[in-house]
Symmetry: none
Subunit: 193 residues, 4 copies
DNA sequence: GATGAATGAGATTTCATTCAT
DNA sequence: AATGAATGAAATCTCATTCAT
């Protein structure tokens, strides 16, 4: 339900109004309660839909034969794709992460797990370090670094756009997807740092 | 008012309850209205206090004589210090950034401006690129990369701790502060990438 | 409709839910409105059925040739029979009598009238008093005494069972039917009281 | 709260309207929720007040030195006194007894227990039977008979008044209080029945 | 400064009833 | 006869805000 996603994004769960959502969806308020038992269920279903899609998509993204660089590029692109498809989801997600409830955390955790991404990447980093191609470091730090390089901009875009005077975000994003991988790969390379 | 910060952090602005805040502060609800004009003003004052302190602190942080590395280290440390001092502020800030209102954005923008950090760093990156010590790239991308490497973990710590199985966060943070600078400096170096 | 009677008994007219009644009857809610004009009509029909049966049964109970004792025994037995057949009716009836509406009172009044019982019993008491076999008293008091001796237990059984520690109600009822007549007949006898 | 008692009496718990109760009490609806947490609590407090008074009164009614007849007279009078003081309570009570919830039953049970009445009367009946002054019978039957003779009319007055054509209830009640005791005492006497 | 009571507007939820198929 | 969806009115409850003391 798009109208619901919109209200949850703009006002948050507590600030969202069932009245407004119904009006936005051009249906009678009582119909919301006919299809969903409560505002809470409406909320869960609304974000659950996106979560499920994200899980499915991420799971199918990798065959296991990719190079490290390919994986990084795919992940970087995926984050932006998801946010382009569900622009309002960014708000909802951030609010959830602002004060994460165990239930929601597990939900998101599940998405990552389903993709196999964390374990695969961690293992991969471990191998690369052992092989001497990546400098000695905690693989978890590397993983977090890469994810935050991506998610950080996705989440904070409005602030950064203002501070940095970014006017054409589409263009900037295309650039960023490459920059992120480049910086990261350079950053973790073993060498005379 | 700690009780207010707590409620705003846990429930968000719309979910916060004046009743609960009063009870948490062991005062009569009407007293809140004696000190503040409205819930909105209470909110602004509550977070404004932190904002002001952050502004002051950041402004005084730099004399202009620091090396790039010193600046990066200082910024990395500062983020964690602020969050350690006001742990609940992280939630409040994230909620604000989830659906930023121009007014709040300007507030935060002001903090950065006051510190002189963005312009100084951008200029500095420009110089370093011109001097060939940093690979050719958009200084804004570099700036965003560095900030997200820091802020990303600060904001998403609960999620990352779960995904990565981090149990001792204090320790991990100490490690991260160094890792972030190292990865970034390595990542932006000019060289045979 | 048993499901309706059940809901009216358990929740009362205002507390009964058309949804629940439909579900209990395994039919679609709209079907209820196909058969009955409204909740009110459903209610009237539901209890009207029992009322009509009670009227018919009581009317046919007496030929006019019975002795006083026979009548009393028949009435005492009849109350319990009705409640055994429609156990939930007791609740419905009590609720109605809790705040009797003229319309419902007339309904019940009609049952008594149809049976010819009140006038017959009152006349009979009058004769017995005149003949000196029953002590001088207001026949209406006698009538009420006999009816309450019966109806009182029927209506308050759950409370009495608790207070008196009655575990086998069936057995107790058999005993009560006799006790009631005996006590009453003894109680109204003329003699040296 | 009289307005609440009134609405509960006339409409039952489910049919009572907080709006109406507030209006009847000339207070703001929200004040009801300020003083009572919910409609349910308002209900419990409303009837609890009467229950408590009844408990206290009944407990203090007997010193232990009364003759059987005195006790019976006192009980008979008490029922009518209570109903005269809280005329609407009759409705509320009947509705509760229509579909008794364990919690409410226990409440009422407690009142009887506190008065010591049931155990005292049962014991008394036992003694009288053993002494041959009361005919052999189940004391519980006697007890129920006496209570229903009283409560029956109290509860069913509106119906009986209609059926019997009783116009001056006050007068009738005075008569009934004596009649009930007389009929009962006669009815339980041992003798050639 | 401090408090308990008060209030109006509005939020979520419910429900008898009807409609379209 | 049967159903799922729809609706308007209203019910319970909440909450920011103010008042009287």
């Amino acid at each position: 339900m798009l109208s619901a996603m919109h209200d949850f994004a703009v006002h948050g769960y507590e600030g969202a109004r069932v009245d407004r959502i119904a009006e936005g969806a051009s249906i009678n308020k009582a119909m919301i309660y006919y299809h969903f038992r409560s505002k809470e269920e409406l909320y869960r279903e609304t974000i659950g839909e996106v979560y499920r899609e994200a899980t499915d998509k991420l799971s199918s993204l990798f065959t296991g034969e990719e190079t490290l660089e390919e994986i990084l590029h795919a992940v970087a692109a995926y984050h932006h794709d998801l946010m382009r498809k569900y622009p309002e989801f960014r708000s909802v997600l951030m609010r959830e992460l602002a004060h994460p409830r165990r239930e929601i955390l597990s939900y998101i955790f599940g998405i990552f797990e389903a993709s196999g991404l964390p374990s695969r990447l961690l293992a991969r980093f471990g191998e690369e370090i052992k092989a001497g191609r990546v400098r000695k470091s905690d693989p978890r730090q590397l993983m977090i670094s890469f994810l935050t390089l991506n998610l950080g901009y996705v989440m904070l875009a409005p602030l950064f756009d203002l501070i940095m005077g970014i006017s054409d975000r589409e263009l900037f994003v295309e650039d960023r997807k490459k920059e992120v991988v480049k910086l990261f790969l350079n950053g973790i390379r073993s060498g005379r740092s």
